[in-house]
C-alpha cells in the first residue's frame, strides 16, 4: 500500500467528528437498546453507572488496576473504566445485571453465595463476570490456572480461596 499524503489529508478531513459536547449514543446492554446523551469522554463504566443506573459494575480505581468494573463486550471480559462508551456502539455489552435469568440466579452467582466467596461484595460483580468468562475461555483446568487467570480481579477482603472454590464447583457441575 502506498498513498500520497495529500490524498490522505483530504480523505482525513472527511472523517465525521462527534463531540466534544453531549452526543446521542445507542448502546445495547444486556440485550436491550439504550439511548443516552453523553460526552465522548464518558467511559462505559460511567455511562452504565451514572446514566443507565446499572450500578453492578463498580469503580474501584478508574485506572485499570483492580477489575471491579469488569463487564463483557461481545462476550469478552474487559475493563469498562478504560473503555469509552462510544466505542461500544454496535457491540453487545453485558453486565452482572444481565447474568441471572429473571429470578433464577446464574450457577456462578449461586456458587459465590454457597462458598461465601465475598465479604463486602464490592468486587463481586467483577469477580463473577470474570469467573463466568474464565470458564468459557477454558482457563479453569486446575487451581494454578484459576489463580493466574483470576488475578485481574482484586478482592481486598481476600476471599480468593473461596472464589476458587466457587469456580471449581461450577466447572465440575458443568462436566
Amino acid at each position: 500500500m502506498s498513498v500520497r499524503s495529500s490524498d490522505l489529508t483530504e480523505r482525513g478531513q472527511a472523517l465525521d467528528e462527534r463531540g466534544p459536547g453531549p452526543v446521542t449514543v445507542v448502546l445495547s446492554v444486556n440485550g436491550t437498546e439504550r439511548s443516552l446523551e453523553i460526552e465522548p469522554r464518558v467511559s462505559l463504566l460511567d455511562a452504565l453507572r451514572e446514566h443507565l443506573d446499572l450500578t453492578g459494575a463498580k469503580k474501584g480505581c478508574d485506572q485499570g488496576t483492580c477489575g471491579t468494573c469488569t463487564v463483557w463486550v461481545d462476550g469478552n471480559r474487559v475493563l469498562s473504566c478504560l473503555t469509552l462508551a462510544l466505542t461500544c456502539e454496535g457491540h453487545e455489552v453485558t453486565t452482572v445485571e444481565g447474568l441471572a435469568d429473571g429470578e433464577e440466579l446464574h450457577a456462578m452467582q449461586r456458587a459465590f453465595i454457597a462458598e461465601d466467596a465475598f465479604q463486602c461484595g464490592f468486587c463481586t460483580p467483577g469477580q463473577i463476570m470474570s469467573a463466568v468468562a474464565l470458564l468459557k475461555e477454558g482457563h479453569a483446568h486446575d487451581d494454578a490456572e484459576i489463580k493466574e487467570w483470576m488475578s485481574g480481579n482484586i478482592c481486598r477482603c481476600a476471599a480468593y480461596p473461596h472464589i476458587r472454590a466457587a469456580i471449581r464447583a461450577v466447572r465440575d457441575e458443568a462436566q
Partner: protein, 744 residues
C-alpha cells in the same frame, strides 16, 4: 452465658448474598438522587508551605461548573472536634485539622479546593484547570529525616493510650537473663485500599441534610459532621447500608464528609463526592512508616525475664498518633519486666489512622520474630518456648483472663499444620529451585469495649414476622447475617421470619464497628432488644385473660418458631397480636458495657503457621499454605467467621511480602498512589488457608461471649512467614515487606 440456641452457631449463608451477586446491592455512591451534581477534591501539590494564590478562572468558565470552593470562599466550619477513636461514640474526625480554613499546607494531597459540576467528567476536568501558586518549604516526611526530632508523647492513639508503659524493672530483668536477643525491625507505610473508595453524597432539604456515606459508623459520621457544620444532630441523617470494605479507612470521619455537605449547601443541589484511588492514599489516613526495637531476655530454660519494646514513627503536625504496636507484647507472655516506649516526631503527613490490626500486626511482627530468634538461641522448639511463657493471668494486671484458649490454639494449630517432627535446622528442605521452610507465631488482640451504651430495637408484626434494627452498617463483616441469627434465637423464631435492618441513623445508635468490637457489642444490643420484646409479649400473653397462656408463670414460657408454650398451652406471637388487634409490638434493648475495671484481662488469642517456598537465587517467596487457630469466644456463624479470619490471614501475607508505600523525601508525595504500584495480594498470591476455631466460653466480655474476628486473623502472620523464610534459608529479614532484594 446464655444457652446456645439453634440459629447462633449455624453456618448460614449471607442474608445479603443475593443482592451482592446480582449487583443490586447499592453502595453509597449508587443511590439514585434526582438533580445530583458531582464534587471533586483538589489536593495540594506541595507538602509544606502556604498557598499564595489560586486562579480558578478557567475552572469556573468550564461548561457545567457550579462552584469552585477554596479557603478563600468556603464558609468556615463551626469547629473541628478533637481526634477520639470512633468507638467512643463521640465526634471522631480522622485528625484534629480541617482543611481549607486558611492558606497553610501541612501535607501533600491536603484538600485545597472543591469543584462541583453537573457531570463527573466536567468536575474532574475543571479541577485540573485550577492553578495554584505556593510558597514552598522543604518537607520532613521520612523516618530518617525525623529521627533526631523524636519525643515521647504523654498519650498516643487519640489520647487513649499512654506514651510509655512499663512494669517491673527492665534493666534488672535483662541483666538477669542468660540469653538476650536485641533486634530492630523496619516497616514501610501501608494504605488500606478497600476497593470502594470513600465518599459521601449530601442532599439538603431546608436546614436538614441527608448523607449517604461509606463509613464504619453512621452515627460517627452524624456526630462528627454535625459538630463541624454546627447543626443539631436532629437535622442530620446518615445512611450507609452497604460499604465496600474499610479496614480502618472508614473508621474515622475524614473531612470529605463535611466538605460534601458544605459543597451541596453552596450549590443548592445534591452533591456526590467520591475520592479517587489516588486520594485513597492521601485523604483517609494510613499505617505509618515505623521502626521497632525489641530486646528480649530469657533464662536458659526459656523463661522471659524482660521485654523491651520501643517504637519510632512519624505523626502529623496536629496529633500525637501512633498505632498501638506495644499493646500485645506486654500481655501475651508472662514476664515480670516490661518497658514500652512510643517515640514520635512531627512530619508533613496527615494523621495516620487505624489500619486492620492497628499496632498489633506490626508489634507482633517484631515480638514474634524476636521470639523465634530466641528459640533458635536456646535450641528450643518455638512452640515450646511460647508454652513455657504462657500466662494464666494478664501479666500487666495480674487479673485472670476472661477466657484464653491460647494453649489449645498452639496444640490444634500445630496438629492441623503438621508441626510435629519439624527439623529446626534452616535450609534443609529443597524441592528443585525452592527451599521450603515453616514458621509459627502467636496472635493476640485486645478485647475492647465501647465506653457507652449500645442500643437496638425489635419489632414484631401481627403476621408473626420480626424486624430488628440497629444503626450499624455492614462493610463486609456479615453483621446483617449474624444479627438475624442472634435476633431469631432471642425471639424464639425461625430465621426466615426475622430480618435485620441497619445502616441508618434513624435506627438505634451503635458506636462505629471498629477494633473487632462490632459483633460483641451489636449482638449484645440486639440480644437485649429481642429478649425484651419476647419478654414483653410473654408478659402480655400471660396477663391476658383471653390468652391460652393466661396465668402461666412467664419464666415457664418457652418460645419456638414464634409459638409461646407453657405446658400444653400454646399461642403464637401472631395470634396474640391479631387477637389484641395490635399491628405490631416493639421493644428496645440497651447493653451497657461493664464500666471501669471488669476485674479480668480480656484478649483474643490465636496461633499462626506458615509454610513458604523460597527461590533463594531469585529472591522469590511464595506462601504455600497458612494455618491459623483462633479462640474468639463464641462463634456466631462459623462460615462467616472463617471467611473473615481467612481474609485477615491473607492480609498478613500482603503485609509480609507486598504492601509498601514510601514518601518522596524531597516532595513529600507518595511514591505509589495506585493499585498498580501499591501491591495488594491477588488471587495468584493467595494459597489455601486453613482456619481452626477454638471456641472458648467467656461470660465477661459481653452477654453472648463474643470476642470478635476482624483483626486477630492478621496478627502474627507476617512473623510466621518471616520465621518460615528464616527456616527455609537461614536468613533473618527484619523489615516489612520482605522483598526480593532482601533475599538475594
Amino acid at each position: 452465658m446464655t444457652t446456645i440456641a439453634p440459629a447462633i452457631g449455624q453456618s448460614l449463608d449471607r442474608v445479603d448474598g443475593r443482592a451482592k451477586v446480582t449487583g443490586s446491592a447499592r453502595y453509597f455512591a449508587e443511590t439514585p438522587i434526582p438533580g445530583i451534581s458531582y464534587a471533586v477534591l483538589v489536593g495540594s501539590r506541595i507538602a509544606n508551605g502556604r498557598i499564595t494564590g489560586i486562579d480558578a478562572g478557567d475552572a469556573r468558565a468550564e461548561e457545567g461548573v457550579l462552584a469552585v470552593l477554596t479557603h478563600e470562599n468556603l464558609p468556615s466550619i463551626a469547629e473541628q472536634p478533637p481526634l477520639i477513636p470512633s468507638l467512643g461514640g463521640t465526634a471522631a474526625p480522622g485528625q484534629t485539622f480541617f482543611p481549607m480554613q486558611d492558606d497553610v499546607v501541612h501535607y501533600a494531597g491536603q484538600h485545597i479546593a472543591i469543584v462541583v459540576a453537573d457531570t463527573l467528567e466536567r468536575a474532574q476536568y475543571a479541577a485540573s484547570l485550577i492553578r495554584v501558586s505556593y510558597e514552598e518549604r522543604p518537607p520532613l516526611v521520612t523516618l530518617d529525616q525525623g529521627r533526631d526530632q523524636a519525643y515521647v508523647p504523654d498519650r498516643v492513639f487519640g489520647g487513649w493510650l499512654p506514651g510509655r508503659v512499663s512494669r517491673g524493672d527492665i534493666e534488672t530483668g535483662l541483666a538477669a537473663a542468660d540469653v538476650r536477643v536485641d533486634t530492630t525491625f523496619s516497616y514501610a507505610a501501608n494504605n488500606h485500599n478497600p476497593l470502594e473508595p470513600s465518599g459521601t453524597t449530601a442532599e439538603w432539604d431546608g436546614d436538614e441534610v441527608l448523607l449517604h456515606d461509606a463509613t464504619q459508623g453512621v452515627n460517627a459520621t452524624q456526630i462528627t459532621v454535625a459538630r463541624q457544620l454546627g447543626i443539631p444532630l436532629s437535622k442530620i441523617r446518615v445512611i450507609g447500608h452497604y460499604v465496600g470494605g474499610s479496614f480502618g479507612s472508614k473508621a474515622m470521619i475524614h473531612d470529605h464528609a463535611a466538605l460534601a455537605a458544605l459543597a451541596a449547601r453552596e450549590v443548592g443541589r445534591p452533591v456526590k463526592l467520591v475520592l479517587t484511588r489516588e486520594q485513597m492514599f492521601t485523604s483517609v489516613g494510613h499505617r505509618e512508616e515505623q521502626e521497632q526495637r525489641i530486646t528480649l531476655g530469657a533464662t536458659r530454660d526459656g523463661r522471659l525475664t524482660g521485654i523491651r519494646h520501643h517504637k519510632l514513627s512519624p505523626t502529623s503536625h496536629f496529633d500525637d498518633w501512633a498505632e498501638p504496636s506495644l499493646g500485645v507484647s506486654p500481655e501475651i507472655y508472662g514476664c515480670p519486666n516490661f518497658d514500652g516506649v512510643y517515640r514520635i516526631f512531627r512530619a508533613n503527613t496527615m494523621t495516620p489512622t487505624f489500619m486492620r490490626a492497628p499496632g498489633e500486626a506490626s508489634g507482633m511482627f517484631a515480638l514474634e520474630c524476636a521470639m523465634d530468634e530466641l528459640a533458635g538461641e536456646l535450641g528450643m522448639d518455638p512452640i515450646e518456648l511460647r508454652e513455657r511463657n504462657l500466662s494464666a493471668v494478664s501479666p500487666s494486671s495480674g487479673r485472670p483472663w476472661s477466657s484464653s484458649g491460647l494453649l489449645e490454639c498452639y496444640r490444634r494449630g500445630a496438629e492441623r499444620f503438621g508441626w510435629e517432627g519439624r527439623d529446626p535446622r534452616p535450609g534443609r528442605r529443597r524441592e528443585g529451585n525452592w527451599l521450603i521452610g515453616t514458621g509459627m507465631a502467636s496472635a493476640g488482640y485486645p478485647v475492647v469495649l465501647p465506653p457507652n451504651p449500645q442500643r437496638a430495637r425489635a419489632r414484631m408484626y401481627a403476621d408473626g414476622t420480626a424486624v430488628v434494627q440497629a444503626a450499624t452498617p455492614d462493610f463486609g463483616t456479615g453483621v446483617a447475617t449474624v444479627m438475624t441469627q442472634v435476633a431469631a434465637d432471642a425471639l424464639g423464631m425461625s430465621l426466615d421470619r426475622c430480618r435485620f435492618e441497619n445502616g441508618d441513623t434513624d435506627l438505634p445508635n451503635i458506636a462505629a464497628a471498629v477494633g473487632s468490637a462490632g459483633s460483641g457489642m451489636i449482638s449484645a444490643a440486639v440480644h437485649s432488644a429481642a429478649t425484651a420484646l419476647r419478654n414483653q409479649l410473654i408478659a402480655q400473653a400471660t396477663g391476658d385473660s383471653n390468652s391460652p397462656l393466661y396465668g402461666a408463670d412467664p419464666v415457664d414460657v418457652v418460645v419456638q418458631d414464634g409459638v409461646m408454650t407453657a405446658g400444653t398451652a400454646r399461642e403464637s406471637y401472631a395470634e396474640l397480636l391479631q387477637r389484641d388487634v395490635q399491628p405490631d409490638a416493639e421493644a428496645t434493648g440497651t447493653w451497657s458495657p461493664p464500666g471501669g475495671d471488669p476485674g479480668y484481662g480480656m484478649m483474643t488469642f490465636g496461633a499462626q503457621f506458615a509454610e513458604v517456598a523460597v527461590d533463594a537465587e531469585l529472591g522469590l517467596v511464595r506462601v504455600r499454605r497458612l494455618t491459623g487457630a483462633f479462640a474468639p469466644g463464641r462463634v456466631l456463624n462459623p462460615k462467616l467467621a472463617r471467611s473473615q479470619l481467612m481474609g485477615g490471614m491473607l492480609w498478613g501475607l500482603g503485609q509480609a511480602l507486598l504492601e509498601a508505600n514510601h514518601m518522596h523525601p524531597r516532595t513529600g508525595r507518595w511514591a505509589g498512589a495506585s493499585l498498580g504500584e501499591y501491591l495488594v495480594a491477588v488471587n495468584a498470591d493467595a494459597p489455601d488457608v486453613d482456619v481452626e476455631l477454638v471456641e472458648v466460653e467467656d461470660s465477661v466480655v459481653n452477654p453472648l461471649g463474643v470476642k470478635g474476628v476482624g483483626e486477630i486473623g492478621q496478627v502474627g502472620v507476617a512473623a510466621a512467614i518471616a520465621n518460615a523464610v528464616h527456616h527455609a534459608t537461614g536468613r533473618r529479614v527484619r523489615k516489612l515487606p520482605i522483598a526480593i532484594e532482601d533475599l538475594l
